[in-house]
């Protein structure tokens, strides 16, 4: 019998942020290799941060990713404050959470409506989706705009906001300016509810994965800026203990570092993990919306991440309204923070998952060492594991269909290749 080989290869993955490639190879009917290659040219942020003033970290790290700059700014300021032994509360804490809600909305809506939903309907992009579902796409654009407006109002602009600083904000947004956003956010909350309902009607491929979920967990809230790092396998640690429990490693086919839990292996961060580990932290009404959409208290089907993102978007609108209702302008708008000869750690929940940063600041206030672990690096090994399952189960599919299914499964995790710092190129080979 002839040896049959089959390769599926996508040199440039579309609808992901950044550049990557996928390669799947079957030999004699057996799946032999799966590789998600990140080829994005490295930009060496950790090296560039050395000898910069500690206060520059939020502006510089924002440039790692134009889709989630707030996440980088938040982890940076929290790490510097942790280094200085400070934890800020009150309105500054509220404003940070509010700014983060804006980023969750903008990023989740972009991903659901423009990058991921077209997959479920077999379309190449949101422009085609707009032909058949014009009102739906317009609704998504308006929701995204509401998230961006929230960031602009607090941060000065939607991409790389300028108002965040170590210790708080350069200038506190005025109460009236935030109040003025309420009607649109209320509309957004209703639209988010309709979004959950719509995403739940999409045809969902069946797949259950035994992920180890990792996310923050906070005693009273759905996690954004603070909490302990917990996992579905019982990990429960303070953020500063990250280096003792996690490690990064390099693989030849990728310019992004991968991460794993020491002695255990790959794990997943992001919406599925946050939701499954913090379902009880969602307000009761939102829990009910999730149940009505067919979600359980945990979700292990990566394709359903689009529904979970919708639930989180609903939460973000709801939380934004809650914060604005009681907001008082902090005065002063920032606290003095002066880390010297110390190391600080922080992790916050970027839309795509846990974003860890640590800094050592010298006696001169300059950064001596920086360490940044974005969510996509952490998820990369798990995305490859999903691809193994999807390719294995989809072996009978025609190449074009299998390729589409593989790409969709990558998008399930909204990988941000720019974040992973470092090109993504899909290849399916059948020998």
């Amino acid at each position: 019998m002839a040896v049959e080989s089959r390769t599926i290869k996508v040199d440039m993955l579309a609808r992901v942020e950044g550049e990557g490639a996928l390669y799947v190879r079957f030999r004699d009917g057996a799946l032999e290799d799966v590789r998600l290659t990140i080829f994005e040219p490295p930009r060496f942020f950790e090296a560039m941060l050395r000898s910069r003033a500690f206060g520059e970290a939020p502006d510089i790290t924002a440039r790692i990713c134009g889709i989630c700059p707030v996440a980088y700014q938040m982890s940076a300021v929290h790490a510097m404050e942790h280094a200085a032994g400070m934890q800020l509360g009150g309105s500054i804490r509220d404003l940070r959470r509010l700014l983060y809600c804006g980023e969750w909305i903008e990023s989740h809506v972009l991903h659901m409506y423009m990058l991921h939903a077209p997959d479920f309907l077999g379309l190449p992009d949101a422009v085609q989706l707009a032909r058949t579902h014009g009102d739906l796409v317009r609704q998504g654009l308006r929701m995204k705009k509401a998230g961006n407006t929230l960031i602009e109002r607090i941060g000065g602009r939607a991409i790389h906001p300028v108002n965040v600083r170590v210790g708080g904000f350069w200038r506190a947004p005025r109460k009236d300016d935030l109040q003025a956003l309420v009607p649109e956010l209320q509309w957004g909350r209703d639209a988010a509810l309709r979004t959950v309902q719509f995403m739940a009607t999409l045809p969902m491929p069946e797949l259950e994965q035994d992920y180890e979920f990792v996310s923050l967990r906070h005693p009273g809230e759905y996690p954004l800026n603070e909490g302990r790092i917990v996992s579905s396998a019982g990990l429960d640690i303070a953020v500063e203990d990250w280096p003792q429990h996690f490690e990064e490693f390099q693989v030849r086919h990728s310019s992004a570092l991968h991460a794993r839990i020491k002695a255990r292996g790959s794990y997943l961060t992001g919406p599925l993990a946050r939701y499954s580990l913090n379902f009880d932290r969602l307000p009761a009404e939102i829990q009910q919306v999730a149940r009505d959409a067919g979600l359980g208290t945990t979700c292990r089907n990566p394709f359903k991440s689009i529904v979970v993102r919708a639930v989180e978007t609903l939460y973000a609108f709801d939380e934004a309204l809650r914060i604005i209702a009681t907001y008082e302008e902090p005065s002063p708008s920032f606290a003095p923070v002066e880390p010297r000869n110390v190391t600080g750690h922080a992790a916050t929940e970027a839309p795509r998952g846990l974003l860890y940063q640590s800094y050592t600041v010298g006696g001169d206030g300059l950064i001596a060492d920086a360490h940044i672990v974005p969510p996509t690096s952490q998820n990369q090994a798990t995305i490859e594991r999903d691809l193994w399952s999807v390719a294995q189960e989809g072996q009978a599919m025609a190449d074009a269909d299998l390729q589409a299914r593989c790409e969709m499964s990558i998008r399930n995790h909204d990988p941000c290749i720019s974040c992973a710092t470092h090109f993504l190129d899909l290849t399916v080979e059948r020998t």
Partner: protein
């Protein structure tokens, strides 16, 4: 009719994706835009790719690998009009900080196996490799400037993009001068307008994301910054951020050591 629409391609080199995201951030104009121009190659937004040549190419990001230095030539060959978007493509971006250091050292700091990483010693702007027809400044670009430039292109007119300093925008916006009021270091006097003077409106100094204006007077500003108490290294850092590779900022940074 759609045959007559101009075709648009969007290309990415070393960057954060923020400038191309600005296109998708034109929420109110996006559906009008896709009716006026044919998006032929924009992988971040669509998996449908139409072969070139393209009437207009928007290029984001800087050149940092030998492969990208080759790829930008191919992009140029397929593009009638090529416009760079943002500080990375126009000046080398934040990643141009490597131009002042030893890249091998950078590689070692970030990667355990530096030999797996293919990179050039410098991050360079697109215009250093191919002919660029128009440059949009900013880190990120400004949405209104992007829409103005696209509409100018479609209507075959020259885009209205100011080349004066951020100071003029502060005056227009009624921002009190942060340098005068509380001695805050600000790059506004030497930075090209376009953002709308956001930073001073938020009570902080401009950090130069639109890069140097036409004939900027950087030396007197640097002297003023020193009077405000910044040491040599701090002045150097002020000029070395997102447009560190732009000629005027690079020169001023070098005058301040290293």
């Amino acid at each position: 009719m759609s045959e007559q629409l101009k075709t648009l391609a969007v290309w990415k080199f070393a960057s954060c994706d923020g400038c191309q995201l600005s296109i998708l951030d034109c929420e109110d104009e996006l559906l009008t835009l896709v009716g006026a121009i044919r998006i032929a190659n924009f992988t971040e937004a669509s998996s449908a790719v139409i072969d070139g040549p393209y009437d207009l190419s928007l290029v984001e990001g800087s050149i940092t690998t030998a492969h990208d230095a080759e790829r930008i030539r191919e992009v140029r060959a397929q593009s009638h009009f090529l416009m760079t978007i943002g500080a990375c493509a126009t000046a080398g971006g934040i990643q141009a900080l490597r131009n002042f250091s030893d890249v091998n050292e950078f590689r070692r700091i970030v990667y355990a196996r530096p030999d797996y990483i293919d990179t050039l010693a410098t991050s360079t702007p697109i215009a250093q490799h191919v002919k660029v027809d128009f440059e949009l400044r900013g880190c990120p670009i400004d949405k209104r400037q992007l829409l103005e430039t696209l509409s100018a292109f479609l209507n075959r007119r020259k885009p209205v993009i100011p080349t004066e300093s951020v100071c003029t925008e502060c005056k227009r916006r009624g921002n009190p001068c942060v340098m005068v009021i509380d001695g805050t270091a600000c790059l506004g006097p030497v930075t090209q307008a376009g953002c709308g003077a956001i930073c001073p409106a938020y009570a902080r100094g401009c950090y130069g994301c639109f890069g140097p204006m036409e004939s900027p007077n950087t030396a007197p500003l640097a002297a003023r910054l020193e009077q405000l108490g910044l040491d040599h290294a701090a002045v150097r850092r002020v000029f070395r951020t997102f447009n560190a590779g732009a000629a005027a900022f690079r020169a001023e940074g070098e005058r301040h050591g290293g």
